[in-house]
Every structure is written in structure tokens, then in C-alpha cells.
Symmetry: C2
Subunit: 300 residues, 2 copies
Amino acid sequence: MGMTKIVECVPNFSEGIDLDKIEKIVNPFRGKDNVKLLDYKRDADHNRVVVTVVGEPQAVKNAMLEAMGVAIEVIDMRNHKGEHPRMGAVDVVPFIPVKNMTMTEAVELSKEFAKEAAERYNVPIFLYEKSASSPDRENLANIRKGEYEGMFEKIKQPEWKPDFGPTEVHPTAGVTATGARMPLVAFNVNLGTNNIEIANKIAKNVRFLNGGLRYCKAIGIELKDRGIVQVSMNMTDYTKTALYRAFELIKVEARRYGVPVIGSEIIGLLPMEALIDTAVYYLGVEDFSMDQVLENRIME
Amino acid sequence: MGMTKIVECVPNFSEGIDLDKIEKIVNPFRGKDNVKLLDYKRDADHNRVVVTVVGEPQAVKNAMLEAMGVAIEVIDMRNHKGEHPRMGAVDVVPFIPVKNMTMTEAVELSKEFAKEAAERYNVPIFLYEKSASSPDRENLANIRKGEYEGMFEKIKQPEWKPDFGPTEVHPTAGVTATGARMPLVAFNVNLGTNNIEIANKIAKNVRFLNGGLRYCKAIGIELKDRGIVQVSMNMTDYTKTALYRAFELIKVEARRYGVPVIGSEIIGLLPMEALIDTAVYYLGVEDFSMDQVLENRIME
């Protein structure tokens, strides 16, 4: 019950088929003091596994370095095929401040990881998101463009010199991105229609890309088995673009099509604050403080 | 990050004026391993201090026993005056299961406390709420009726024999009640009128006592400085009577008076689940699980 700092780390590794290899990669997150493996989800089509781990920052970083060593041993990017874009055996390593930790501290942690990983494994490392060394590098998609195969040429351009490690792609491990970011909330809103065009139009109206909410990515999705469509969102900073705001805006947009909002879903984990903000909005609670949440007081 | 059980304890002591005595009573909750003093609020008119402490069940119980010893030393009920009803130096000791703990375990803990307190301090102890030995004793107000002064006669009646300790009031410490209960949520809804009659009528319609929601106590209150009135509620089991249900019901009732609901307030602490339930309702989230809340996964 001390003021323990807690970081979340969600590394993506380029192996989603060979269960034996996946277990080897995930193993360094098991049985360690102050490190807790919450989840790992592989996708065979993507040929990729996404691991979720939380814990004390240095302990998580060290376990992550160990897992990276294993991944580099068992993955050979020269033979890697998958639907999801990728550029390295350890494709991306996001650090997310969760408790008693500032974004600045998470940025620091990602840079320590980048430096040690580059030195230990001789892999070029790019910093992205809040850790980016230039605006071009904030968006992971920009860094990853060209993927593993294109990286051998790309890395020679001065504007794509890695932040740490050699200016040369690791032949079997490729390159890695790391950085600090806010937690993502996967929030999907269901519409009472099977018309995907309507979901697409609403998605465009609410997302940042087309003039909508700043921290909202959105696409239209068909749920064929239910005969409905959905606005599938990634909320990239729930502290600035609240869930209820996206939800109410979708209701407003849906109105012009005469389509009802019939529910929603939240995929995976989210911080309690994202939902507490929403409750406080709907109940119109005045002067609410997160210190009033019992669990926050216990965890200090 | 183990599966630590956490209990909350909210003892009420009959001293709200003498700061030196209050500090002495509160001190046993400070500097102990696995015990965390969250808050203590004294009220001079009530002549009473309410302490909020959380921690590992045995550690909290032991600190509570120690604080009881101090309270018995410094408080003399023969001289106690205050607006709040009271029957003992240590008036009531509720134990509330907060994390990885069942209500049954909290009941057990309250009984252990009762037994040890009675033996150590020779004070009669009554079990109330979920720990009650008969339905008459569930409601604290029933046990406390007659207060300290009336207890000397009351305790002689067979139906008011204490659950632990002597069948004789402690001359300076009176008697004590202890038991396990759900966390209370103090939730007040503000109305856009200064007509207290309307607040009173709505309070009657929503509260259990008059045919309203089962786990809701409510009264009308004037906020004179703001020129408005409020339905002031005590939600006695938010897992069964959700906050949003009381809020929406008040809106429904307010409609017949043409009065708007203009906001609300939450006083003191509440468990995250009380607000997360509410967010999940308003967003219409399907199949939500509390396991999706990151903080719940960290605290396991």
C-alpha cells in the first residue's frame, strides 16, 4: 500500500502461429516480482501476439528486455508473413503510465528501454508517440511505412536515422519502435441498422481525421451475425476526449439517418477513470474528485 | 500485487471537541503495517469523530482494538453531551468488505472483534447489520434507542442481552455495536427550486421506508446559501439499488412538479463499481465485466 509506480507495457511480437515460440516469448513475464502478466492474445492471420503486462517500471522494463532477447532468438523476419503491418521481431513496445507515474516518467522509461535494447541486441530503435524525437515520428504508421522489407533502404535516409542502435537493419530482427502513450480505449457503438454506409458516414463525422473529436479514431464495421453495424472507435486520450462525448455525438449523427443507437461494447481493458468520468457526467455530479474513489485511496 | 484482502472500518467515537483526546484515539491507526488511515472527521455539535481506515483485516482489527482501549481511557460517557444519538465511548464499529473479501468474512471479523473487545475491556457488545443475531438487531437505531442513559435499564431485558461481554453497562464506556455492512454511498440530487416541500415529497417517493427503492434512505434538505433544495440519499447497497436508478427516479418524480434536476453530489468515499455501473448503464455497454477495469487487475 505504498506509493508504488505502476506502468503498463503492451509489446507486439511478430509470431502468432507457433504456440511453442509464443510461450517462450511470454515466459519472461511470468513468476517475476512486481511484474504481472495480464493477457496475451495471438492472431494467426496477423501472425502476431499482443502481450499486456503491468508492474513496477524497472521490473517491467527488465522483463521486457529479456522477452526481446527470446523473441530475437526464435523469430526470423526473413520468413515472416502476416496481414498486420510489421517491421521487427519485436515490432512495437508501448509504455503506458497507469498509477503514480507521469507521462514524462513513462517517456524516460521508454528511452532507457530503447538504449539498453539497442546496446544489448544491436537492433535499431525508433522512438514514437510521446517519446518521439520529431513530429514525423509521433505516428507509428509513419515509422512502420515500408515495413520490414522496405526498412533496409528507408533507414539510410537521414530523416529515418534510428534514435538508438545501428543505422542498419538487424537481418533477422528488423527494427523496433518504443515510446510512451496514453491508454487506448476500444469503444464500439452499435446502430440499429444493417446499412454499413451509415456506420461509415458516422465514423467519418466523429473521428479526428475528418474534423471530428481530437482523440478519436473510428471506422464502420458490419456485425453480420447480428445483422447490425457498428462505429468502432479507438479513443486515444480518454482524459481529453471523454467516452460519453463520442457516444452522444454518435447519437446526434445517427438521428439524421433515423437510426437508433442500440448499445455499445468496450473491448479489453480500460482505466476506471474513463468510466467514472462518464458516470459523473450523466449524473451531473458537482465537484467530484477521483480521490473519492475508495480504490484510489487504497492503491496510493 | 497479491490477492490481499482489504477491509474498511469506520468507527464512531464519542468525542468531537477535545482535539488532544481525538488525536490520542486516532493514533493507533497511524504508522502500522497494512493499516491506512484515510480520514477522520470530528463534529463538535455531534461531539463525535468518524474515522475511516482500510487495510488487511487482522491488522485493522488489532489497531481498532488498540484505539478502543484509548477511547475508553479518555472518554467518560457520564459527562458526554452531543446532538447525535450515542450509547458508548466507542459507539459503533462497522466493518466493510472492500477487496477480495466476502461479506461472510467481514461478519466473521466483526464477531472476532466483538469477542476480543468484550474480553479485553469488559464492555457489552451488540452485533448489528449483517452480523446481527436477530432481525431486531439489524438496524443500529433499534439497538441504540434509549442511548447511553437508557441502556442501564434496557440491557436487563432478555431480548437486549448483549451478544458479547457482561450484561451490565460499562459505567464510563457504555456499550458498543459492531457488525459488517455494505459500503454506504452518500448521494444527493439537487433540484431547481427552493421549495423544501417538493424535496420532501420526492424523498418519500424514492425511499424504501415509504415504498420506494429497497436500498435507499432519503430526506429533503434545504441548501439555503444556494437557494435550492436537495434530495439527500444514503444508498445502503449500491450493488442492488444502483445510483442511476435513484437519479432517474428522482427525475421522473420531479417532472410532476415541473422542477428540473440540476445536478448532484457525492459526499465522501465510494467504491468505483458504484460509478462504473452507472456509466455502463448510460452508455448501454453490453457484456461489461469489472475485470476489464485495469485497476481491478492490478489490485488482485
